[in-house]
């Protein structure tokens, strides 16, 4: 008999769990249904299909992990990973340092709202220009024999012989990276600038009364508030770097050789040039898993919470 109250409570919980949904709840689920259906149709189904393709041949025969081993055995994959790694190591630190510097500079020195708004608009511009257009303009800047950059440098007397921006492996990588830096540094600036706006004025004033110089203010106050935004920027930029395609395709086509053939361009070629759907699917799954793990690692290293 001693168990009776406990059993009754459990039954009550189960009953509560099985209770009929209210009209409002049913309506809520009904309204959610199209959105959930869309997510299911455009995310879940393709993902399942990609996994199925990655373990089968074109005619549907299941071959286990053979496509994965084929993908991993291709030396071009490692060249593409290397190129993507180099590209990332060039663009992310530069965008970070430049974006942070601009954000702090504007935050500390520009007080007029009109000027801040103008800078805001200027920073938005590169983000809304189509990547293809940026690629074409960049090609006009870097192209051999008629590139604007060489002409300017020659007129300024900085160089006396044309620089082969897109033909030399190192310079070609720097050229494609520079386009990324131009387009995405404003994004870093905007995010960090908005973060700086949230720093409490009292904290800064208290630090100033205590005699903290600008570096100490930045290091012990601003940076503390910006930290969660760093992970946001790293997340977004890593995802973008993985998708970089248009301007590289237009500027160098992955060349010279395969030195600027980034992972996205390589996967595009496996799928749409080699028409090796199975290998492309295996690559897609591997990239997805690798980056999920990488993101999990980053999230652990850079805590989201401020405290």
């Amino acid at each position: 008999m001693a168990n009776l109250p406990a059993r009754t409570a459990a039954q009550a919980v189960r009953r509560a769990g099985r209770r009929r949904l209210s009209r409002d709840e049913r309506l809520g689920y009904l309204i959610l249904l199209p959105a959930l259906g869309a997510v299911f149709a455009i995310v879940t189904i393709p993902f399942v299909l990609v996994i199925a393709q990655s373990i089968s041949t074109d005619d549907g025969t299941i071959v286990g992990l053979r496509n994965y081993s084929r993908a991993l055995a291709n030396p071009l994959l490692y060249e593409a990973i290397r190129a993507t790694g180099i590209y990332t190591l060039i663009v992310l630190p530069i965008e970070f340092v430049l974006g942070l510097s601009f954000a702090v500079l504007v935050h500390r020195t520009v007080r007029r709202p009109g000027l801040r708004a103008a800078i805001y608009v200027l920073a938005i511009l590169p983000l809304v220009v189509p990547q293809v257009a940026i690629g074409v303009v960049a090609r006009l800047a870097y192209a051999p024999s008629y590139g604007v950059l060489n002409v300017i440098l020659e007129r300024l007397g900085v160089i006396h012989q044309e620089i082969n921006w897109l033909g030399d492996p190192t310079l070609a990588m720097l050229a494609v990276a520079s386009v990324d830096v131009w387009q995405w540094t404003p994004f870093v600036y905007l995010v960090l600038f908005s973060g700086l706006q949230t720093v409490p004025r009292e904290s800064v004033e208290a630090a100033q009364i205590d005699g903290a110089n600008w570096w100490a203010q930045f290091r012990y106050i601003d940076l503390h508030y910006l930290r969660p935004l760093f992970i946001l920027i790293v997340f977004f930029r890593l995802a973008d770097v993985l998708r970089v395609f248009d301007h590289v395709f237009i500027l160098t086509g992955g060349g010279p050789g395969t030195t600027t053939q980034l992972l996205s361009l390589y996967m595009y070629r496996v799928e749409f040039k080699f028409f090796d759907t199975a290998q492309a699917a295996a690559l897609a799954v591997m990239v997805l898993v690798s980056f999920s793990l990488l993101y999990a690692l980053i999230a652990r290293v850079l805590p989201l919470e401020r405290a």
Binding site: S145, W165, F272
Partner: protein
């Protein structure tokens, strides 16, 4: 009328939306997929954006006014058109009634069984005024040369009719050199002779993949090299192949423009058009679009156009780059689409097409002096077609092969690898890809 609450309105709207959404898909699924018996009122053409489809867009309204059939030309950039067609064919889609196809795509589409046969279905026959090679390139499996293993034993059918008679040719400054280069040695000699500061003896179109591949294949063939032999054995690492690519990427490169490894057709045309280069290979569309274009070029009337010069073996082999019109299997207006193709290749209509910038395939039009006045490359094109130019290997793996080969040539042009190392590595890669695809490499 009974008023309803806002909640009730939202609920009914959501339900109605959920019920109505799949109706178009259900109706589409219930359709038979067979040719419609109703009269065709509209034909949709998937076309490549650029000089190649410009004349087609100009003459399509004429057909529209004659027949009442609305002609819609949907344009895509080169790479996107191919991808779009492949995915449409894979789904047996009926979005397009006609499609423009670059001739190296024919093996892919032929192997996929993506097109309707023009001869057996619509009664197309060969016209003696059009060179046989033009019909051959639209036939699958190929009537000559190696046939892919999966296609052997199949009876050949005509699947595409050429509407842009592209063949790769050679151009040089006739105001500077009085005699045309007969061989690649002459080309080299002229490059040496005319090369000077800010005037390049030769222009290499060496950008990675398709550009480098297209630019080098005529030289490769003229030197006796090739990508495959008659039995699909890879011979890219043969002595002749290595000699050809060494000639282009080392010997001739000494007199070429800086940044050749990043030069594409537009860059080449610009150098020629502003009078900063002596010679190069070229395609007809480059001639009409830039080199001989009023208001664009500074060398109008100064260029000569000839078939590809001869190699050490005494043969010069141009490369076909025909653009064909085909009818996708999924089209429900096959008969009307075939009528349009027949209309377009009639002599009078093709003449109008040429007057609007089109590149003809009819020998009579290529040799028409009146048309030749505005198109100085017509005689060279007629000669190139008559000499049976080479086509790119007729394999559905061509895109992969071209990517590997074009990257290797680009590496050699950039000096990242020696021609021998680049071609040897490419040959190994192509052998593996072909073996994977079931070829006897």
């Amino acid at each position: 009328m009974h008023p309803i609450t806002r909640r009730e309105f939202v609920k009914r709207t959501a339900l109605a939306g959920a019920l109505l959404t799949p109706i178009p898909a259900i109706l589409e699924a219930c359709s038979t997929g067979t040719p419609s018996s109703t009269k065709t009122t509209k034909l949709t053409i998937a076309a490549v954006q650029g000089a190649e489809d410009g004349p087609l867009k100009k003459v399509a309204p004429m057909y529209q006014s004659q027949t009442g059939i609305t002609m819609e030309v949907v344009e895509f950039p080169y790479d996107q058109l191919f991808e779009k067609l492949v995915t449409t064919f894979q789904a047996n889609g009926s979005s397009y009634d006609l499609c423009m196809m670059d001739d190296p795509w024919m093996p892919k589409f032929g192997t996929m069984g993506a097109l309707q046969p023009l001869d057996s279905n619509f009664g197309f026959t060969r016209d003696s005024d059009i060179p046989s090679i033009v019909y051959d390139v639209g036939t699958w499996p190929p009537p000559r040369g190696p046939v892919p293993p999966s296609e052997q034993g199949k009876s050949p059918h005509l699947y595409g009719i050429t509407i842009v008679g592209n063949v790769e040719m050679f151009m040089y400054r006739k105001d500077l050199a009085t005699t045309p280069p007969a061989s690649w040695n002459d080309v080299l000699a002229n490059a040496q002779k005319f090369n000077k500061s800010n005037f390049y003896g030769y222009v290499i179109r060496g950008k990675a993949t398709n550009p480098a591949s297209s630019d080098s294949l005529p030289i490769l063939w003229s030197f006796g090299g090739d990508i495959f032999d008659a039995n699909w054995k890879v011979m890219l690492d043969s002595t002749e192949s290595i000699d050809a690519i060494t000639f282009l990427t080392q010997t001739l490169k000494k007199y070429a423009e800086p940044g050749a490894e990043n030069t594409d057709a537009a860059d080449r045309d610009r150098l020629i058009a502003i009078g900063q280069a002596f010679q190069s290979t070229t395609w007809p569309a480059e001639v009409t679009g830039v080199v001989e274009a009023q208001g664009v070029s500074q060398v109008i009337g100064k260029m000569a156009y000839i078939p590809i010069p001869k190699g050490p073996g005494g043969k010069g082999l141009g490369m076909m780059g025909n653009w064909l019109l085909g009818i996708p299997k999924g089209s429900k207006n096959g008969s009307a689409a075939a009528d349009f193709i027949k209309w377009l290749i009639k002599t009078d209509n093709m003449k109008t097409y040429v007057q609007n910038g089109g590149i003809p395939t009819r020998t009579s039009l290529l040799n028409d002096p009146a048309l030749g006045q505005n198109n100085p490359y017509f005689p060279a094109l007629a000669q190139s077609l008559a000499a049976q130019p080479n086509w790119r290997p007729r394999t559905d793996q061509w895109n992969a092969v071209e990517t590997v080969y074009g990257t290797a040539v680009n590496q050699a042009v950039a000096g990242l690898k020696t021609p021998k190392d680049a071609l040897t590595a490419a040959a190994t890669q192509i052998r593996a890809a072909m073996k994977q695809a079931g070829y006897p490499s």
